[in-house]
Structure formats: C-alpha cells, structure tokens
C-alpha cells in the first residue's frame, strides 16, 4: 500500500502541465482504488485489519459497516485525504490545461496530500493488520454513532474543509507566480462557494444529530470540537464575500489572499485540535501526542511558507485604488474585521484553558457565557452593516437618501412585530428583542429586493439574497429558541399524570423491545395539549450487546413552531421514573435556515460556474 502513495511525490518535479495533469489523474485513481479496497474489506468483515476489527462488527448493517470507516481516527483521516485528492482531481478535470496557474495549483494540492499521507502512514495507518490470528468478530461501532445522520455528517464536513484547498492552492500559485494580471479570484469563486455550502451543511447536520441523539436538547454547546468547525466557517464566509469583491476589481485582494490562507489553515487546525486530543472536550476523540505534534508541525510549515510568500509579494499586491467609503467594498471590509474578531475570540476561547493551565497550573474552561457575550453583539453589528450594504454599489459611494423608502417600510413592520413580541409573548430580554428586530429588518428588506427583481426587473443576485434571508431567519430562530424554550424534570410513576405548561403528561406504558443489536426499555407517554389534541411519545433506553453501553433515545414530536422533546432517566427505588420534558421553540427553524443558506450556496456556485464557461 505504501508504494501507491509515493506516486504523489512525482507530480511536483515535472513542469509540463499536461504531464502534471496526467500524473495527478493516474496517481489519484490508484489512490482511490485503495480506498475502494478498504470499503470492500470493511463490508466483507475482514477483521485481520486492526482498524476494522476495532470499529466494525458482523451484525452491523452494511451501511454502518461502511460508515464505521470514518467513525474513528485512522479511517477519518483516510477519508479526509480521499476528499482532498478528489477535489484536486475534479479541479484537474474541469480546468483546461492552458490556465496559467493550473500546474502550480496541482503542485500545492499534491504537496498537501503528501503531507497528510505521510501523517497517515507514519502515525495512523488504517491498513495495520492483526496477523496471524485475526479476531472472529469486531468490537462494534459506538452505538451513538450508529445513526444515518452521523454516517453522512463527517463526509459533508470534510468535503467542506478540504474543498478550500482549491482556493488555497490557487492563492499560493498566484503568489508564487507573482503576476498580478492573473485573475485567480474569478476562477475559485464557484469552488469556494461549493465548499462553503458543504461546510455549512456538515455543521448543521452535526448540530441536528447532537440534538436528537445526545439527549441534552440543544443545538450548539460551544464545545471545542464545534468551535474548531466554526472558525473555518467564519473565515470561509468572510472569504467568499471578499472574493466577490476582488473578482470584480483588484480591491480587497490582500484580504482575499490572507483569508484563503486563513480558511485552509483553520481547517487543518481543526484537524489538529480534534485529532491530538490536546483540548479537553466533551467528545474528545483521541489522545496521541505524536499525531498532534506531526500535524502541528505540518500546519505550522504550511502557514509559514504561505505567509512568507505573501510578504514577499506584498508590494505587488498593493492596489492604488482606494476603498471608497460607503461603497460595497467598504462594508465588506468592515465585516471582514468583525468576522476576524469572532475568529480571534473563538480561538482564544479554545486555547485559553491551555495557556492558563500552563501559566497558573489551574484548570479552567470557557463556556457558553463568554461566547454569547462576544458573538451576539458582534453578529448583530455585522448584520447592521450588511443592511447598509444592500443598497450599495461596487466602487461607488452610495446615496444615503436612497435608503429612506425601503428602510421606512422594513423598520416599521419589524418594529411592530417586535413590539407585539414584547407585549404578547412578554419577551423583555434586550438582546432577544434586538436580534428579533435586526433579523426581521434584514428579511423584509431582502423581500423588497426580491419584489423589485421580479416586478421591475431590478438587478439582484437572487441566490445571495436568499442566503441572507436564511441568515435573518437563523438569527430570529436562535433568539426565540433561546428565550422561549423551557424544560423540566418530572418524577412520575406508570399510569400517573403530571401537568407541565398546560400540557397533561401521562405515563401509559413501559415495555421491553428487543432490537437487532441491543435491548431496549421503551416508555410510552400520552401528551394532551391545551386544545385537547393527544400525542404519543416513546423515549427509550438502550443497552447495546457488543459494548454493554447504555444510551438514551429521545422522543421528539415536531410541530410548526416547537418540538416536544422527552428523555427518560433512571428508575428510582419506589418504581417511579425520572423523565425530562422540554419544549424547544423554533429549533427546527434553526436548521431550516441553515438549509436555505446551503441551497442558495449550491445554486450560486452552479450559476457562477455556468457564467464562467
């Protein structure tokens, strides 16, 4: 297996583009076939492979046999590299050979791949075998990971992470070439928007999985593992915005280049944090200093080379055009700064416990209050600048007067709705109300844009409009979810009824249900809402055979505006059960907004790549 990988080394030395392209394609197919062999090994229960023996099981459905490949470290990294090289292969296929940056871009992609392949081979070889006597059965995949959503969440996330290798490769190739006339920004736009969409989708799926599987009833926990996915996302969001500015003119070029390096290094940094186990996380994955050290050294090297290259070319990049105040670029650069602040704060929150322990020998952790204190005001501020930027034009100062009419409508309508929320729902929290106001203003303002687009043929980038509506909806949903959700633990015996928030909760039945690879205790609850409608919810507790592990299966009943969410806890000595019931308001809308953004992203990327060709 090792031989296959070494093919990649060749593709840097040869400067004839066609040859580079061909070699890349060939080595990619050889590498890809090694992955297919691996999948086949997993499906056919070949437990002489250590990794498969540790993470798969004969009794698993085929689907989970495959997804068990990326349920832990070695396989995940394998998949990561497969995606990395696949992006390169697709780029290779779709980009014609006369593109000036192609060979160098492929070179950068190859070097990155080789770095990761070496990492895989030296510290975490997925093909390691247990011979001569392989075990008869595997140890099984962790039950909380036996879930269709979690089978596709890591692939989506990795697709997003490593997709930015194209932008990164192009940026480095551009810096290397040093020819400022090459418009690399235009070429990477659709690539980057696609990667951004994958990243968004991956994060949203992970959040949804955590919601129904872990039984805590939240969608975001500010856990380090989540934060390291958020940072590249923030950087990527800033990146695709300033990319759209600098693909029109050479303005913001420095921002764009720096951001492309930042996005990719943050993606790699995420891999480092998750894989080294250096940070104490609720779902910390592995604890291996050797792996961490290698990754850190590799990332450090990449970032250093990129930044050195950048500083060498800095003078070439200085644009003699100035950013005109109140132009679209000016707002984008302000929001770049705000996004930078968010990334910096998140990074600080992730790293501070390490620094603090090193300095004061005292363990600390940074929780949600810190992130909320930073993210809420800054995001809202960024949204205000976004609002102003709606009417602006590229490289032109905009006329403040043009703001009056549409603003009047959107602010009045939003103001009335917020006042109603304050009055009827008695929401008094300042930040909730402001989020509500700003979210609504954005949505309504964009609806006006859509109206003008269709009724008066006024130009608008429809996909971007939709994505930003998604953002407005996201802010509103998060604010309302945070403010209106509630939960309570109940102590209830079978055939008893309790009242929670005008809902009758009756414990009607308890039974044992055997599953394919677990035993389950299933409780049945009848819920009568204030209007007399009844619903049955059946939360479970499962005990898995292979590992003897107990998991909680939540029961969720989704309505238009709220979820009823139940979990069962332990049974007490008197036979009663502890049950948790939550009303999670607007929680579906959070993922729905994310889906809107993802869809808009994919459509935008599609239209961009069509307009280019």
């Amino acid at each position: 297996m090792c031989f296959i990988f070494s093919f990649f080394l060749n593709s840097k030395d040869i400067f004839i583009i066609n040859l580079v392209s061909r070699i890349y394609t060939h080595s990619f197919f050889i590498f890809l076939s090694s992955f297919f062999i691996y999948i086949w090994l997993a499906i056919s229960d070949n437990f002489s492979v250590l990794y498969i023996a540790q993470h798969s099981n004969i009794n698993l459905p085929v689907f989970y046999k495959i997804s068990s490949i990326w349920s832990a470290h070695e396989g995940s990294m394998f998949l990561w590299i497969i995606f990395l090289t696949s992006w390169g292969a697709v780029y290779n296929l779709l980009t014609s050979n006369d593109q000036p940056l192609k060979a160098k871009t492929l070179g950068v992609i190859s070097i990155t791949s080789v770095g990761f392949l070496l990492f895989l081979l030296l510290t975490s070889n997925p093909f390691e075998t247990i011979l001569p006597v392989p075990p008869e059965n595997g140890a099984d995949i962790n039950p909380v990971l036996q879930d269709p959503l979690l089978a596709i969440h890591p692939p989506m996330l990795y697709m997003g992470y490593v997709g930015f290798v194209i932008a990164f490769g192009q940026a480095i190739a551009f810096l290397f070439e040093g020819n400022t006339n090459i418009r690399w920004e235009k070429q990477v736009r659709s690539w980057s928007v696609v990667s951004w969409s994958f990243l968004t989708l991956g994060i949203a799926l992970g959040s949804w999985w955590a919601y129904y599987e872990l039984g805590w009833g939240g969608y975001w926990f500010w856990d380090p593992v989540e934060n390291v996915a958020l940072m590249p996302w923030l950087a990527a969001t800033a990146f695709i915005h300033s990319l759209s500015a600098s693909s029109k003119s050479s303005i913001l070029r420095i921002w764009t280049l720096l951001l492309s390096i930042l996005v990719f290094s943050l993606s790699l940094f995420g891999a480092f944090i998750v894989r080294s186990g250096i940070i104490d996380s609720v779902h910390s994955f592995a604890n291996d200093p050797e792996r961490g050290l290698y990754l850190l050294a590799f990332i450090g090297l990449l970032v250093m080379i990129s930044l050195l290259l950048f500083s060498f070319r800095f003078n070439l990049l200085l644009s003699n055009k100035k950013i005109i105040s109140l132009s679209k670029e000016s707002f984008i650069s302000i929001n770049n700064i705000l996004f930078g602040t968010l990334i910096f704060s998140t990074m600080l929150g992730v790293m501070y416990p390490l620094i603090y322990e090193f300095l004061y020998d005292q363990k600390i952790s940074v929780g949600a209050p810190f992130y909320n204190a930073i993210f809420v005001p800054i995001t809202l501020l960024a949204c205000i600048f976004l609002y102003f930027s709606i009417d602006t034009k590229w490289q032109q100062s905009f006329n403040l007067k043009s703001l009056y009419r549409p603003s009047f409508l959107s602010i009045t309508v939003s103001g009335i709705i917020v006042f109603l929320a304050f009055y009827k729902l008695s929401i008094t929290n300042f930040w909730t109300l402001s989020s509500l106001l700003i979210g609504l203003i954005i949505i309504i303002r964009y609806l006006i844009v859509i109206y003008f687009y269709f009724a008066h043929k006024k130009f608008a980038n429809l996909y971007s409009v939709i994505a930003h509506c998604g953002l407005g909806l996201l802010i509103i949903s998060i604010a309302l979810n945070n403010n209106l959700s509630s939960e309570r633990a109940l102590n209830i015996k079978i055939n008893e009824t309790e009242i929670y928030k005008d809902h009758q909760v009756s414990f009607t039945n308890l039974k044992m249900v055997p599953g394919p690879n677990f035993d389950s205790v299933q409780a049945e609850f009848l819920i009568v809402n204030p209007n007399g409608k009844t619903y049955t919810l059946t939360p479970e507790k499962r005990k898995y055979f292979a590992r003897g592990q107990v998991t909680t299966e939540t029961a969720i009943r989704a309505f238009f505006l709220k979820d009823i969410y139940m979990t069962i806890g332990d049974q007490l000595d008197d036979g009663s059960w502890i049950v948790n019931i939550q009303f999670n308001m607007f929680i579906r809308w959070i993922w729905f907004s994310a889906i809107i953004m993802v869809a808009a992203g994919f459509l935008l990327a599609h239209s961009l790549s069509r307009s280019r060709s």
């Binding site: 104490d280 609720v282 704060s345 600390i364 952790s365 940074v366 929780g367 810190f370 502890i578 948790n580």
Partner: protein, 134 residues
C-alpha cells in the same frame, strides 16, 4: 512625501488602538466568564465566592447516591477529599457510582449546587475507570 508618511502613521496608530481596545474587551469578557476546575480535595483550600461558577471533577463515591423525586444528591471524591453535590434533573447515562463525573455549579454552605452533571467519556464513549484529570 511627508504628508503620506504622517497619514500612514495615523492609520497604523488607529489600527493599533482599535485592536488593543478590542482585545482588552474580549479578554475582559473572557476573564469574567471562566469556569475554574477543582478536585474535591482542593476545593476547601481555595477561597471561592458563592456566585462563581466552578467545575468539580472526581469519582462518584460508592453508596453515596440518594434520590428524592427529581432531586439527586451524591458525593464526589478524589480519595483525598470529598464534597456533597445536589442536582435537580436527569443525570447522564454514563453517571454511575464509582465512576468519573464532572459537575458544573455553585458552592453553597459547603455543598455544590449543580447546574449540570457530565459523565466523562473518551473516544470509545466508555466511562473511564479511574482516570479523572488532575
């Protein structure tokens, strides 16, 4: 030439000033929102105010778990010291006597009033036998 230099100087100073102010605000927000982590034996040697949220990690002492309706009380120990914990709500599946636990909460009369109870798990999501981070 001089005018340009002066302009640049002002720009640089402005950038420095804003980023200094920004960092100051962020770090202040950070400092007021830290959760300190203690082991049961450390906890009474430190002067911890009642309104400070802390994390305490250790093992759930065998035989110490008492339940009353949705309330649960137990003792966390590191076999050098121990502390009483009270909590209202569901404890996680991995919560067990003799197993590792981390509690987030506030001190009140030498008892930890828990906001959240977390059981620790590693890559394989198994409760660790004894290794609670010190």
């Amino acid at each position: 030439m001089k005018a340009i230099r002066k302009e640049r100087l002002i720009t640089v100073l402005l950038i420095l000033a804003t980023s200094a102010l920004g960092s100051f605000l962020i770090i202040r927000a950070l400092d007021s929102n830290l959760d300190f982590f203690f082991t049961p034996s450390e906890i009474f040697n430190e002067d911890i105010p009642n309104n400070k949220r802390i994390k305490v990690g250790g093992m759930v002492l065998e035989g110490s778990v008492l339940r009353d309706k949705t309330n649960i009380s137990f003792v966390i120990t590191d076999y050098k010291g121990s502390i009483d914990v009270r909590f209202d709500g569901l404890v996680p599946d991995l919560f067990k006597e003799g197993s590792g636990v981390v509690v987030l909460g506030y001190l009140k009369d030498e008892t930890l009033i828990a906001e959240d109870v977390l059981a620790k798990h590693d890559e394989n999501y198994m409760p660790p036998s004894i290794d609670i981070k010190n």
